[in-house]
């Protein structure tokens, strides 16, 4: 897990959007697994198969249940309906919401919605999850739970997570920390309290 920190306007969100091919760089190139994401002719395919997004505002579709929201990326991949539903239930169980699968987002708390969003980000088993201020709208307990959950999922699925946040507790869970200011990377360092050798790969 990589922590991306820096003040507002530093460029954290822009960097995540460029890495995730939501936007194209005006200059320079960005490689994810040796793929230049700014030059993709079908960036939707890349987003569908290689990346998962978690946003500050969970962006769950209000008309869809938690399960249906998790199924969205799988629907884009033309996965069979039954398989989609089964995997969505599994993912909701992974984030501790198996019993809330048929609830609408309006029936869930802020922390629960964000957990659904995390399950959705993992739907197509991406190699990379980009989390932009995932705890920005949560209280400290819910924030702690979200970081714990992301750490567990990283360990379980081996997914690389790049998380941008103002939340200082992010550093406790991250393997590396990158600090940005005015669109530039200032420093890259492991978190201070543990030696890097003890951290997950």
């Amino acid at each position: 897990m990589v922590a991306l920190t820096g003040p507002s306007g530093a460029g954290k969100t822009t960097l995540l959007q460029l890495i995730g091919s939501l936007d194209r760089p005006t200059s320079g190139r960005i490689f994810v697994d040796q793929v230049s994401v700014g030059e993709l002719t079908r960036p939707a395919n890349f987003r569908r198969n290689a990346v998962g997004f978690v946003f500050q505002l969970h962006y769950l579709l209000p008309a869809l249940t938690a399960r249906q929201n998790v199924e969205l990326p799988m629907a884009a991949a033309h996965m069979h309906r039954r398989e989609r539903a089964e995997r969505a239930i599994e993912l909701l169980a992974d984030v501790g919401l198996a019993d809330r699968a048929e609830d609408l987002p309006s029936d869930l708390s802020g922390g629960e919605r964000q957990r659904v969003a995390i399950a959705r980000a993992l739907a197509n088993r991406p190699r990379l999850v980009l989390a932009d201020e995932p705890t920005g709208a949560l209280d400290s307990v819910a924030s702690h739970n979200v970081w714990e959950l992301l750490s567990q999922l990283r360990d379980r699925f081996g997914t690389t997570i790049i998380a941008a946040s103002h939340d200082t507790t992010l550093a406790e869970h991250a393997d590396r920390s990158l600090r940005m200011l005015d669109g530039r990377m200032l420093a890259t360092a492991p978190p201070p309290e543990l030696p890097i050798a003890q951290r997950s790969e």
Binding site: R42, A44, L61
Partner: protein
């Protein structure tokens, strides 16, 4: 299938808006269905007039506003009977709006010995035997509450009901027959008939007879089938032209309505489309979703329109006073056209909003939130 399921979910989430858009489409399609059904009913009626008494051809005056206003000399019947290829011919004088209490019923004036009247099966009473008698169809009699021996006012004449008949043809069973001379006196056209129906001799083709009559009797319109009959009358042509204009208008108005609603929906749901794009939905998949939503709403509108149109057609023929001789005919072809127009409205109205939705920039739309 995914687009359809998601479109249905989205429509269920905003049922009020979807229903109002569908209703806008429904009114246009309802009008079309009503006009097409009346037009189809009129064609059927015209066909039954042309083939009255199992005849092969119907003769009318050329350029009459509609077949009921045609005027032909009665002497033409005798001249036609002299043709070797004609088996028989009979004159008909049509009286419209003349029956007291049921103005929509048509009264046919015909000679009592003509082939059409010989086909009548009487359920009570007997055939015409004197000028002041009338025989009534078994569908009209209960509507007028009259029976054999009662008196009926036709064009301010009091006629005695001689019999109740059944012919098996709606227009005639919903009408009545009087002697030709009486009908001519009521209409003020002595020595004239509205139409002449012709039975051809064995082996004579209607198209051949049609050509021969046109050559030998100028000023006469010869009709062999129902569509021709409807086209022949200026009113029938008018209905068809009005229907065509309304089809185009309904398409335009319906498509603009669907487009307007779908565009509003796309603007409101920019973050939804941005999210779908972020999680891997391609532009084509997003466009299909919007297009499917437009289609579902339009088809729903078409379904409501068919119901409105079917009821509207009945109200229309009553308003026109034509209920007795025109039964709106909601055929499969009428329904098919209504559905096709609904689909066209959905596609035309959905294309631009679908394109807009497919081109929402996920980075920009999500940042604006």
């Amino acid at each position: 299938m995914i687009a359809l399921a998601q479109a249905l979910t989205s429509i269920r989430h905003r049922p009020g808006r979807a229903f109002l858009t569908a209703l806008g489409t429904a009114l246009g399609i309802g009008t079309i269905v009503a006009l097409l059904a009346v037009s189809a009913g009129a064609t059927q009626t015209a066909g039954q007039f042309v083939h009255l008494g199992r005849s092969d051809l119907g003769l009318f005056q050329k350029d009459a506003a509609d077949p009921t206003t045609s005027v032909l000399p009665e002497s033409l019947i005798t001249r036609l009977r002299r043709q070797p290829w004609v088996a028989d011919a009979m004159g008909l004088q049509l009286l419209v709006n003349k029956v007291h209490g049921e103005p929509g019923a048509i009264v046919f004036g015909a000679k009592p010995d003509s082939f059409e009247l010989n086909r009548m099966v009487f359920t009570s009473g007997h055939a015409l035997t004197s000028p002041n008698q009338i025989v009534i169809g078994d569908e009209l009699a209960p509507q007028l509450h009259v029976g054999v021996g009662d008196t009926l006012e036709v064009g301010q004449r009091h006629m005695r009901v001689a019999g109740i008949y059944h012919l098996g043809v709606t227009e005639q069973d919903s009408g009545a027959f009087v002697p030709l001379s009486t009908a001519q006196a009521i209409s003020g056209h002595p020595g004239e008939v509205t139409s002449i129906v012709v039975k051809l001799g064995p082996g004579t083709r209607p198209s051949t007879a049609q050509r021969l009559i046109k050559q030998r009797f100028p000023g006469v319109l010869v009709i062999a089938d129902a569509d021709e009959a409807l086209r022949a009358g200026a009113n029938g042509q008018l209905i068809q032209n009005v229907t065509n204009v309304i089809v185009v208008l309904a398409l335009l108005i319906g498509a603009i309505g669907v487009m307007n609603t779908m565009l509003m929906s796309v603007v409101e749901r920019r973050s939804e489309f941005a999210l779908r794009s972020a999680v891997g939905w391609s532009g084509t998949q997003i466009a299909s979703l919007v297009l499917t939503e437009g289609l579902v709403v339009s088809i729903l509108g078409a379904a409501i329109g068919i119901v409105i149109g079917s009821i509207g057609a009945i109200l229309l023929v009553h308003a026109l006073g034509a209920a007795a001789f025109v039964s709106p005919d909601v055929t499969g072809w009428v329904l098919g056209r209504a559905l096709l127009i609904g689909i066209l409205i959905g596609v035309l109205g959905g294309i631009y909003p679908a394109w807009r939705a497919a081109h929402v920039s996920p980075a920009r739309a999500l940042a604006q939130q």
